[in-house]
Symmetry: C2
Subunit: 216 residues, 2 copies
DNA sequence: GTCTATATCGGGATAGAC
DNA sequence: GTCTATCCCGATATAGAC
């Protein structure tokens, strides 16, 4: 049991370090097992597949990120909090950027267990969205009643878009991603402010209809 | 020569039919060669890799789609043309929807040769964008000078989003995708109209800044 | 140039002995 | 819970028939 947990951790560590060094595809299960100092078959005892190791990585990221995301909830301004939440992820995932790139192969397909839109990561996603809810509430950002139940999800999606861009951003230190964050943040916050105008009720209805279709 | 072209076609057909039946990953090169009635080695004579078959499929799609996309350029209204262009793709790719799902694995990564955002499909992308340019021009849609050079690309991107949703749309006959098309079309056309208001010059500047970052 | 046949290798995954 | 042996497949290479 204890040995089992240890071995599992050893394998996970070996996998992640190899993923970081070589990317996902070029790290073989044999390499992973070798680095962990176990037989290659044993890796499959702890992880159903190479993909399953990735799910363990997600789970771990969720746990590791929690304190950083709490620390991002400081400013009284929504824009600052959004920026801080995104930057916290840039910082944490920075060393794994290349590896995440390989993962994105599955991201678009919501049916893939490795997609952040899949059932299997629902818990993680919910955890993540909760941070946006908190940012909206604590900064007393006014959101129209009809949009309110969806606003955190919208911001989460906005963040996912930024992360996607960041993952494939080849500019030095991902400078362009920071620019994009900077350039879009103002637009996002402005749109939220505008969305409160009673005049824009029809526009909100259009958006709500689109959301309801997207959520199926 | 003639025989060679024939064999190549036979292999391509066999590959596509297997991709449609089983998806990309579960169709092996041995299966493909077997269905084409040739030795498995021969498939590699014509296609460098399994991936190369996909590129051939893209190329072929481009050629096949041309007449349908021309036929979509009828209505004097931009919204109708956009809908027709998207529907033409739904129709053509319909039988390959599942197979396209497997391909999307590479789509997010602009560095992958199989991504529609990659260099290697620049020609196809340009061909595709040209249809949106034509739709804008022929419907005499007024677009502000500063946005004009980018509008066709924006519409192309909008279409790609719809296609992405459609590929993974599990509702019967992809009903939700049609709803999404319907729900977003109005918004898109309205936004283009609004973008002409001189008052919105600052908003256009924000959008232009974002575009310039995205294009790197 | 077109095609068959075969051999070899690396890598994900599995079965079964211990 | 751990290891060894094995399977399957994609990819590559090669020898040779026509």
């Amino acid at each position: 049991m204890a040995a089992g947990k240890d071995t599992e951790q050893k394998i996970l560590e070996a996998a992640l370090s190899l993923f970081r060094e070589r990317g996902f595809a070029d790290a073989t299960m044999r390499d992973i097992a070798a680095r962990a100092g176990v037989a290659s078959g044993l890796a499959y005892y702890y992880f159903d597949s190479k993909d399953a190791i990735v799910l363990a990585f997600y789970q771990r990221a969720k746990d590791d990120l929690a304190p950083a995301l709490d620390a991002a909830q400081e400013s009284p301004k929504l824009a600052d909090r959004l920026a801080a939440l995104v930057e916290a992820k840039f910082a944490y995932f920075g060393p794994n950027r290349r590896f995440l790139g390989a993962l994105m192969a599955h991201a678009a397909n919501p049916a893939s267990p490795m997609s952040p839109f899949n059932e299997s990561s629902a818990e993680m996603r919910q955890f993540d969205i909760a941070h946006f809810e908190r940012a909206i509430e604590e900064t007393r950002t006014s959101v129209p009643r009809d949009l309110a139940p969806h606003m955190a999800k919208i911001l989460w999606l906005y963040q996912m878009g930024l992360l996607l861009f960041w993952i494939y951003d080849r500019s030095p230190h991902q400078r362009r991603s920071r620019e994009l964050l900077d350039a879009t943040l103002g637009v996002v916050v402005t749109l939220i402010k505008l969305s409160n105008l009673p005049l824009l009720k029809p526009a909100r209805r259009s958006v709500l209809r689109i959301i309801s279709i997207l959520e199926g």
